[in-house]
């Protein structure tokens, strides 16, 4: 037997209808700005609060990694939901600029920035701008080092030494911008052939290619791995948290990331987005990073550099070619090469 009274059918139709109409899209009121935040949550929140307090503009903030945010902005390109994309490593910002899904804006604040930040803006035809910088390097666990009676690693070259067999951790460049920065840095530092030779040698020491870029810093802090290759500020955050780690800027010199900010093309709150953009470049707002335990170097000349931050002046920085290594063609090529030659290479 079959249940057969029309009420049910009506109810079913109503259900289907309700499904579509029950909750409507949030209307964007005046005085709002939607920010995609790609730094640590601890930094996102005070930043948004500071902006709200200063301007009275309501901020809707979503925190996602820069890769996720890039994917989202791209997917939403036909009908943008966000206004500003604040923070996160520079490459996806540059790629977004390259693909034209972010908006050109020449902020009056550009004059207050350090040269590396303005160069980022010029290279991207003012579609993105640097807001902080962080050098690449590694950190090691001092307790584990003492226990194993190993010499302190000081240079990139050390990481390929047999002493550290199975003791180096670094992220997978396919999933992590940090690790891609490492590949690009080594290529610029040593030349492509040498760099891949080095990575092949280091591969024997790598215990794990993690997914997340900052994870190796955590692994070094807990001793899961002796050495972790990350941005130095990630390692510093672990050290400040009380972990027995020493932060090392490699002796040969190293590359760096420029944490960036972009306005999304077609932003629904363009005026407020620009206000946020200017605010985020001010010395006042950039001082918030250190309070949130983010020890990057701010891009505003007069923003205070947190005392814990690795001094860029003490680090041999290479002249990182963001335009070349941020382009999707070069990245695809290097990643394919890394996949083919390094990932599945034998460990012995």
């Amino acid at each position: 037997m079959i249940i057969r009274f029309p009420f049910r059918q009506a109810a079913f139709g109503a259900f289907a209808a309700l499904g579509l109409g029950a909750m409507s899209a949030p209307a964007l009121a005046q005085g709002e700005v939607v920010v995609y935040c790609s730094v640590q949550e601890e930094w996102c929140r005070p930043m948004m609060q500071a902006f709200e307090r200063k301007t009275g503009i309501k901020v809707s903030m979503t925190r996602k990694s820069s890769g996720e945010t890039f994917a989202q902005i791209k997917a939403e390109a036909a009908n943008p939901r966000g206004d500003v994309w604040w923070g996160g490593t520079g490459d996806p910002h540059l790629q977004a600029a390259e693909e034209g899904i972010t908006e050109e804006y020449r902020s009056p604040m550009l004059a207050e920035l350090l040269p590396w930040a303005t160069r980022q803006a010029e290279q991207s035809k003012f579609r993105t701008v640097g807001i902080y910088a962080g050098a690449l390097g590694f950190s090691f666990n001092t307790q584990q080092l003492a226990r194993k009676r190993l010499p302190e690693p000081k240079c990139w070259a050390d990481l390929a030494k047999a002493d550290y067999k199975d003791e180096v951790q670094v992220a997978d460049p396919n999933s992590s911008g940090t690790a891609y920065t490492k590949v690009a840095t080594l290529v610029q530092l040593m030349g492509e052939a040498k760099a891949f030779e080095f990575m092949k040698a280091m591969h024997k020491n790598v215990n794990q290619y993690t997914k997340s870029g900052a994870a190796p810093a955590r692994a070094a802090a807990t001793g899961e791995s002796l050495i972790g290759i990350t941005f130095l500020h990630d390692a510093v955050a672990q050290a400040v948290g009380g972990a027995p780690v020493k932060v090392v800027p490699p002796c040969e010199g190293t590359g760096y990331e420029i944490g960036s900010m972009s306005i999304i093309k077609g932003a629904k709150n363009m005026e407020n987005a620009k206000k946020f953009y200017d605010f985020a470049l001010s010395a006042e707002s950039q001082a918030l990073g250190a309070q949130a335990k983010s020890y990057q170097v701010p891009s505003n000349k007069s923003a205070p550099v947190p005392p814990e931050a690795p001094k860029l002046s003490d680090i041999k920085l290479i002249d990182y070619d963001f335009a070349k290594y941020g382009s999707s063609a070069e990245r695809t090529r290097l990643l394919a090469k890394w996949d083919a030659e390094i990932r599945n290479a034998p460990k012995r």
Partner: protein
């Protein structure tokens, strides 16, 4: 049948009137000034009223000649075509801006579907059963809109390059890339391709969790009642555990500086290693969370096996081992297949565990995620990988169907069963105890870590100073002038998660069980295809669904990204297959003669459903409600792309904490979620109740089991 004769198209007329009213009064579009369809039409959008007109004409035809269907079908077809075409191509048709479908449009669409299905039934489809026709077509329509359409849309991107041009050469290069297929690990030092890894992990997870689940189920049902209380209690835990937590606890225990590792190193000189990162760790984590599910499936099936069958064998002097092999085991086959399939498929789509524990061991689900969100930014590659994963999952379902064949597994009949289940042969019993006891200990230790982890400074580094810091960061409540103020940073995501899950769960149960009822009690042309489509979303990995939803539903005509609605829809259609499977499993055990007996005794259909079918379906209802609620609260990969500032979910918050290395806060939040979900599961159990089969109960009733028969097989 007299009821059918009595109906002279009244329903059709009502549906058409509702459509007209919705067109005239309700806002047509979801966004914008809220004009009704009528208003928009007067403003120059002339194609808008066509579908409504078609609906009205069809209703008139239905009223005039109830037995004629052709004219109505043509009308409805034209109406639907104009509705869909105008939705997607408004700009090309009348040059106006695209309109997103809102409440008014949805009701008109629903009316068209209703009228169309009734006409189809009159034309003889669905064996002329209008109720089945309407239900089936309504479900089909929503599955096409919310599963098929977005997935096809995103999979199509496998065949285009970055600028949207079709490039088959690129597609085949993506497909045959060696890092997907290589089997290098078999004959050399190199690693295997991602497909080999995924299949290996899936098979192992399926087999191991099924065997463990079987051991638990046998002990619980046949090994004496004392075990089952503990098992039932334990079996809930992993189901209500948010992702990542088990993996985090395993790292804390067995990582290179883990608690157990350190202990072994200090006391037994067993050197520290990283064995937990990779296949072994992911497998343990997956089996930890899968075993309880397979236990629940197998226990449900074991309880459903009528003891009289075994007693009959016993009377024929078969040994206990022989009975187990020839009676019990064959009857368990559908459930074993279901448990294995679930383990396999869940392992394939698992995202959290490989993320934390995978090390350099890559599986498809994480690779897809990072093809989209990683440094590659290559959605085409993600689409190819998703396609492979889809094929794998569907093959698993297909194999299961082949293995089970078309045998009957009916065990619950109306002929009251008074047997007592045979106890286990002692060999089997000891073997089962041998695997179950260590596993219980492991589970308890893992949950011990979770319980403690939230209250100490940093359990990962061994800093065991007790603190409330993590809870106060996430969940502090202040007593302000306007009453309670929830100032903790986790409250927003918590409230949204609860709301979305609470709305999604009953909807999932309704859609899922209706589908199951139609599938198992009615035969019609195209039933296989219908079944396949309803199961499709289960086979699609969460990451793919997430990206597909953003791509498909961010622009008119369906523009729902950034709303809570998209989360609810995502959960309903992702978890629906579970309702379908558990409903089918329950219904295939219930003999149709029960329905017929009730009818013969003069009960109306409604009464039969209420007093016979529904009570027997209770385990399936509970299973679906619990599963969909809990899965909505713990899903990760599907919603990572769908959450927004306003609609943030608990798991997205936890992922961020894990990414930031704040294991303690992640664990604290998770333990709170566990407690909350536990309370909800018990509440659902209490409200819906349990089915009772057989007149004589063996000893006392075991403690209220949370879920019976998860995904059953047919």
């Amino acid at each position: 049948m007299n009821r059918r004769a009595a109906d002279r198209g009244h329903v059709d007329v009502v549906a058409a009137l509702v459509a007209v009213a919705a067109f005239a009064l309700l806002p047509w579009a979801l966004t914008g000034p809220g004009q009704s369809g009528l208003g928009l039409m007067l403003a120059g959008r002339w194609p808008l009223p066509l579908p409504v007109l078609a609906a009205a004409l069809a209703a008139v035809l239905a009223f005039a000649s109830p037995q004629q269907a052709m004219g109505r079908l043509v009308m409805i077809g034209a109406g639907l075509a104009s509705f869909v075409l105008y939705g997607f191509f408004a700009r090309h048709i009348d040059g106006g801006p695209m309109l997103s479908w809102g409440l008014g449009a949805a009701i008109v669409f629903a009316a068209l579907v209703l009228l169309g299905s009734r006409a189809a039934a009159v034309a003889g489809a669905f064996k002329a059963d209008r109720w089945v026709a309407t239900t089936t077509i309504a479900i089909l329509a929503s599955v096409i809109v919310f599963v098929f359409f977005p997935v096809v849309r995103v999979l199509a991107s496998a065949f285009v390059d970055g600028s949207g041009v079709i490039d088959l050469g690129l597609a085949s290069r993506r497909l045959f890339s060696p890092d997907i297929w290589t089997l290098a690990c078999l004959y050399s030092e190199g690693g295997c391709g991602v497909v080999a890894n995924t299949i290996l992990l899936g098979l192992l997870a399926g087999v191991v969790s099924t065997l463990l689940g079987l051991a638990f189920a046998l002990l619980a049902v046949r090994g004496g009642a004392r075990n089952s209380k503990l098992f039932d209690a334990m079996s809930i835990l992993p189901i209500i555990t948010p992702p990542f937590v088990i993996a985090l606890a395993l790292v804390i225990l067995f990582g290179r500086t883990g608690i157990v590792t350190t202990f072994l190193d200090d006391w037994f000189d067993i050197p520290r290693s990283r064995w937990i990162y990779g296949l072994s760790g992911v497998l343990i984590a997956q089996v930890l969370s899968q075993t309880p599910l397979s236990y629940l499936i197998l226990r449900g099936a074991l309880q459903g096996i009528a003891p009289s069958l075994e007693e009959a064998a016993q009377t024929l002097r078969a040994s206990r081992m022989h009975i187990f092999r020839t009676v019990t085991w064959p009857l368990l086959r559908p459930a074993v297949a279901a448990a294995f399939l679930l383990g396999f498929v869940e392992s394939l789509s698992d995202f959290g565990n490989p993320l934390v524990l995978g090390g350099s061991f890559e599986v498809l689900s994480t690779k897809i995620f990072f093809a989209v969100a990683g440094a590659q930014h290559d959605p085409g590659r993600a689409a190819i990988l998703a396609l492979i994963l889809l094929v794998l999952t569907l093959s698993a379902f297909w194999l299961q169907m082949v293995w089970l064949g078309k045998k009957s597994y009916v065990t619950v009949t109306g002929k009251g069963d008074s047997g007592i289940p045979a106890p286990l042969p002692s060999g089997v019993r000891f073997a089962a105890l041998g695997v179950v006891v260590p596993w219980i200990i492991l589970t308890l230790v893992v949950y011990g870590i979770i319980a403690v982890g939230g209250f100490v400074v940093d359990i990962g580094r061994g800093d065991m100073t007790t603190t409330w810091k993590h809870f106060s960061t996430g969940f502090s409540v202040e007593l302000g002038q306007n009453g309670l103020f929830f100032s903790g940073s986790a409250w927003d995501s918590f409230f949204i998660t609860v709301m979305v899950s609470a709305v999604a769960a009953p909807l999932t149960a309704i859609v899922g069980l209706l589908t199951a009822y139609v599938l198992s009690r009615h035969d019609f042309k195209g039933k296989r295809t219908f079944e396949f489509l309803t199961m499709l979303s289960f086979a699609i990995p969460g990451t793919v669904i997430g990206v597909a939803y953003i791509v498909a539903f961010n622009v008119p005509p369906i523009e729902i990204t950034g709303t809570g609605l998209i989360l609810i829809i995502c959960f309903v259609f992702r978890n629906m297959p579970v309702g379908v499977r558990s409903g089918i499993a329950a219904l295939s055990q219930i003999d149709k003669s029960l329905d017929e007996a009730s009818t013969t005794l003069g009960a109306k259909t409604g009464t039969t459903v209420r007093r016979v079918t529904l009570p027997l379906l209770k385990p399936a209802i509970v299973a679906t409600l619990v599963f969909s609620f809990v899965h909505a609260m713990t899903a990760v990969s599907a919603i990572v792309f769908l959450v927004t500032a306003r609609y943030n979910m608990a798991t997205a918050y936890i992922v961020n904490r894990v990414e930031a290395g704040e294991f303690a806060l992640a664990i604290a939040y998770s333990s709170l979620l566990i407690l909350f979900m536990l309370a909800v599961v018990l509440l659902i159990q209490l409200v819906v109740g349990e089915r009772k089969i057989g007149r004589r109960s063996v000893a006392a009733k075991p403690a209220a089991p949370p879920v019976t028969s998860g995904i059953g097989a047919r």
